[in-house]
């Protein structure tokens, strides 16, 4: 815990400004990772994927007849594929966002440097 008495408002501000890239790739990245995990679980809940896989071999709507079982299996496989596709799409977006987070600072810095060099 920091002691308020030891720091002035200005060094508090500058310290943050200088140390923020460190924060970005340590605590910030950990936060983003945790958020991604949360989104992953939320995606599972949203699509009901785990529940669906759990009941994969069970017939739809309690229809235990032979034909019912066959139709159920086919329908369940179709639905599973659709749900998986949706879930994978979500995963891709999450992965892209994490990658974006990791790359954005160097990219911005690089672009700034390039812009400055080109303008001079």
């Amino acid at each position: 815990m920091t002691n308020v008495d030891t720091k002035t408002p200005m060094n508090n501000f500058s310290l943050n400004l200088l140390t923020f890239p460190v924060w970005w790739y340590t605590i910030g990245l950990k936060q983003v990772w945790q958020r991604a995990k949360h989104e992953f679980h939320f995606g599972l809940q949203q699509t009901g994927l785990l529940i669906f896989i759990h009941h994969l071999r069970e017939p739809l709507y309690g229809d235990y007849t032979r034909s019912g079982r066959i139709i159920s299996l086919l329908l369940r496989l179709l639905l599973l594929m659709a749900k998986l596709a949706l879930f994978l799409l979500r995963l891709l977006v999450i992965a892209a966002l994490i990658l974006g987070y990791v790359l954005i600072l160097p990219v911005i810095l690089m672009m700034i440097i390039l812009q400055i060099l080109a303008l001079h």
Partner: protein, 883 residues
């Protein structure tokens, strides 16, 4: 509560530091001008930086737009890599935006990290050696804390103005009064005082005057306040230290002689009350957070009967006789439960142990239904053990099934089968013990049918039962214990009852646009505790609050205070629950005088009754016994029964509050059944009916000695515990009854004692050693508040009684417009002729009826009198004549 040990701080910031739960607490919030200025500067700089960053962000957006526009004009899709000032501006602002986002997240994380809710997990075992309590102050608390220095400055200026001494070099030390005045500016504190019905202007003025007139306050008044506020926040599960916690700390730490303690005492504000008020605010915030989270989580719960796994089967038949609690919970249509989180965890533990069916048992109104509702909410959010996931909570409406007795059995079994077949239903059976009382056509009762069905079924049933129902029917039911795991719902503590009522009051406030004073909620709990039996808290108090809010809807004042609550309880129970009015106070204080207008020559009895009633209404008598109980002994016709009648007239005001039982009717073996009623009897006995309707009443037991010994034994229980169990097994509350038993037992001994000029105590002692203990069990006699001996009437007293009786007749005739007066010789004549030593004054009434009333009736019928006539009745030759 966390215990604190203090020691002097080596740091100059604050004189004390504290040790709590293995951690050292320091405080860096010294009340000096430099620190506060620095803090304010930091806050201003912080805001300025944020504004600049937001402006830069806006600038970046503009630069990007311009660059994109140029790219579009030049047909260059890679416009963002071109070197130009717009792109450079955009990338610089990207960097500042990243910083802005990081800074905002950092602050959010710091707030989360410093949440006192984490004390049990991270904070207690954190790496830092010291925790700075100031960092746990929220924005409002920090503002109020710092402002107390401004208040101290103002105070100093005022003192200087009075004393003409201006010593600007001395920095003012903020005191408890300064902090208190500063806290009074905070909205949460203002709201708390509003809830208490306190006018803040008065409190402020008193404290301000005191602070100016008594400037020499101890320098260490505030030293412990931050640490106590820290502990209070932990105790009340608050995220941070807020102004209310600082107020609590003041209430807890200041000595009783301090001006703020005196103000708290005068407005009846204790630290406990303040804690409940604060917790009300915090719990409401938590509840709002929970509702927000619930809305998010409940989005994916299916509304219809098909579960997410698509395995369930529609339940067309069951739907007719059931209510889907999860569907109602999804729409927020079930009443919110509060204070039963631990019990819900207990239920989940039982389910995790693998016990299939569950029974929640508890007193009526303890919150069984609310616990089921809470479970429904948790099931919607899927915050439940795996066995309850993707399931519906469906309540079977037993009453609608039993509505058709011919088909009830088949409907019941069919509903169970369908619920089992559906595969995703947890069936709720409320008051499950009631099933044992209904016989099915197969010869089994419905409980046996259920047990039989559940033996080999995969259906999960959640039942509720009262403790009596459990004891009477379920505990002994064959097979029940094997298939049901029981969970006992214990009554809530007083604090939790109050909080549950406060939370419900907030919901009612939102719905009914009314406002509850805290005193009203406290009163509802207090009065229902006293006067409403057989139902548990908080249900009975909440019922009163609901009634109050619906009344407030149509009233001009939307503020619900103690008086409205007392009025509602009074109307529902027929018990005067309101604070003693001036009228009633006067009546009680002058009761002897009032009674003397009706009763002649029985000063001891009048005094005993008046004192007993005063004790009861001032709240000094025992709350678990009848209001007062007297045994009147003495010969016939001396005023024993009359005193009860007079009391009804004067105090209870209406005859309906008097129940007179002639105890000679309750003799013999059937006496007890006649008094209490029987289980088979459809109608209640007069005593039971009266106590149910008018629990606040006068119970007159005439000729008490003639009741059977069994009946006398029942009165042992009534006089000791103030309750009675009727023949149907209902418990009746007689703690608001005034009981007067009259008896002629020992009349001879009383008369002999009086002839021998013995004192009342000597006569009483003689009676106790003889006839009384032979007539009544000694323990019964000891349970009466007073045993009063009525004296036989002297000739002068008989004349007074005659006067009173004739006065009654005079008043009656006055109503017909006839003014009548009786001469003294008429009164003497009646007293002499009507009085009978063995019957006392009783024949006077009959004599007046036979002679005086008949005489006047003849006059009226012979048209000798008309409205406005003034008559004087005198005596001539022993006969009544008109004068």
């Amino acid at each position: 509560m966390l215990s604190l040990t203090y020691k002097n701080s080596p740091d100059s910031n604050w004189p004390l530091q504290a040790r709590a739960d293995g951690r050292i607490l320091i405080f860096s919030g010294k009340l000096d001008v430099d620190r506060i200025r620095e803090e304010k500067l930091a806050a201003v700089l912080e805001v300025t930086v944020k504004i600049v960053l937001w402006l830069l962000l806006a600038l970046g957006c503009v630069a990007l737009t311009v660059s994109a526009y140029n790219g579009w004009l030049n047909k260059n899709p890679l416009f963002f890599v071109n070197a130009n000032p717009f792109n450079l501006t955009f990338y610089v602002t990207c960097l500042t935006t990243a910083y802005l986002w990081a800074k905002t997240r950092q602050e959010g994380l710091k707030e989360e990290r410093l949440s006192l809710l984490k004390w049990g997990q991270e904070l207690r075992s954190g790496k830092e050696a010291e925790l700075d309590v100031l960092e746990f102050f929220n924005k409002e608390a920090r503002r109020a804390w710092n402002r107390s220095l401004d208040v101290a400055n103002d105070r100093k200026k005022q003192i200087s103005a009075y004393t003409n001494i201006l010593n600007s070099k001395t920095a003012p030390a903020a005191s408890a009064t300064d902090l208190f005045l500063s806290l009074l500016e905070e909205p949460d504190v203002k709201q708390a005082f509003w809830r208490l019905g306190v006018d803040l202007r008065d409190a402020k003025q008193v404290v301000k005057n005191y602070a100016v007139l008594s400037p020499n306050t101890p320098a260490d008044e505030l030293d412990k306040i931050p640490f106590i506020a820290f502990c209070e926040s932990l105790k009340l599960r608050n995220k941070a230290i807020d102004p209310l916690m600082l107020l609590c700390a003041l209430a807890l730490s200041l000595p009783p002689e301090h001006i703020i303690s005196s103000i708290f005492f005068n407005i009846d504000l204790t630290a406990e009350k303040l804690e409940i008020l604060s917790q009300w605010v915090f719990d409401l915030r938590l509840l709002v957070d929970e509702i927000r989270s619930f809305r998010k989580l409940s989005r994916y719960k299916p509304e219809k009967e098909i579960n997410r796994g698509l395995t369930s089967v529609p339940t067309y038949y069951l739907d007719k006789y059931s209510t889907d609690l999860t569907a109602l919970a999804k729409h927020g249509a079930l009443p919110l439960a509060w204070g039963r989180r631990e019990d819900l965890r207990g239920l989940f533990d039982l389910l995790s142990e693998g016990r299939k069916n569950l029974l929640i048992k508890g007193q009526e109104g303890a919150g069984k239904t609310q616990l089921v509702n809470e479970l429904a909410y948790k099931m919607v959010a899927e915050q439940v053990p795996a066995i309850l996931e993707d399931k519906r909570l469906v309540k079977l409406e037993i009453s609608s099934i039993l509505g058709n007795p011919q088909k009830a059995e088949s409907v019941f079994v069919h509903a169970l089968q369908e619920a089992e077949h559906a595969g995703n239903i947890i069936l709720v059976l409320e008051e499950i013990h009631e099933l044992a009382r209904v016989q099915a056509s197969s010869g089994l009762n419905f409980l046996e049918l259920l047990i039989d069905y559940l033996q080999d079924s995969s259906l999960l049933v959640l039942g509720t039962a009262t403790l009596e129902g459990y004891g009477d029917y379920l505990q002994s039911a064959a097979g029940f214990q094997e298939i049901f795991a029981s969970y006992e719902l214990l009554p809530l503590s007083r604090e939790n009852i109050l909080l549950a009522c406060c939370i419900r009051a907030s919901v009612l406030e939102a719905r009914g646009h009314c406002f509850f004073r805290y005193g009203a909620i406290e009163k509802a709990v207090e009065l229902t505790d006293l006067y409403v039996k057989n139902i548990s808290q908080p249900q009975k108090a909440i019922a009163v609050l609901v009634e109050a809010s619906s009344r407030a809807k149509n009233a001009s004042s939307k503020v619900i205070d103690e008086n409205l609550i007392a009025k509602i309880v009074s109307e529902k129970t027929h018990i005067p629950t309101q604070t003693l009015s001036q009228d009633e106070t006067e009546k009680l204080l002058n009761l002897e005088e009032e009674l003397s207008r009706y009763i002649v020559g029985q000063e001891d009895a009048v005094q005993a009754v008046a004192e007993g009633l005063r004790r009861a209404r001032s709240g000094l008598s025992s709350q678990s016994r009848p209001m007062a109980s007297f045994l009147f002994l003495g010969p016939t016709g001396v005023g024993k029964t009359e005193i009860a009648r007079a009391l009804t007239k004067i105090y209870f005001q209406e005859e309906k509050y008097l129940l007179r039982l002639d105890m000679s009717e309750y003799r013999g073996p059937a006496g007890l059944d006649k008094l209490l009623g029987t289980e088979e009897g459809r109608l209640d006995s007069p005593l039971v009916r009266h106590i149910k309707t008018y629990p606040f009443c006068l119970l007159l037991l005439d000729e008490f000695e003639k009741a059977s010994p069994e009946v006398l034994n029942i009165f042992l229980q009534i006089l000791e515990d103030g309750r009675l169990t009727s023949g149907k097994g209902e418990t009746l509350d007689l703690t608001h009854c005034l009981i007067i038993a009259t008896s002629n037992a020992g009349t001879l001994q009383i008369q002999e004692g009086l002839k021998a000029h013995k004192t009342a105590d000597q006569i009483k002692a003689g009676l106790f050693n003889g006839v009384l203990t032979q007539t009544y069990p000694p323990e019964l006699l000891n349970r009466f508040d007073a045993i009063v001996i009525f004296n036989p009437l002297t000739p002068e007293e008989v004349e007074q009684v005659t006067w009173l009786q004739l006065e009654g007749l005079r008043q009656q005739l006055l109503g017909k417009g006839i003014k009548i007066r009786f001469t003294d010789d008429v009164v003497k004549h009646i007293a002499t002729n009507a009085f009978d030593v063995s019957l006392g004054a009783r024949p006077i009434r009959r004599y007046i009826q036979d002679h005086v009333e008949s005489f006047i009736a003849k006059l009226i019928l012979s048209k000798l009198t008309k409205r406005g006539t003034e008559l004087t009745v005198g005596l001539e030759d022993g006969k009544l004549v008109l004068k």
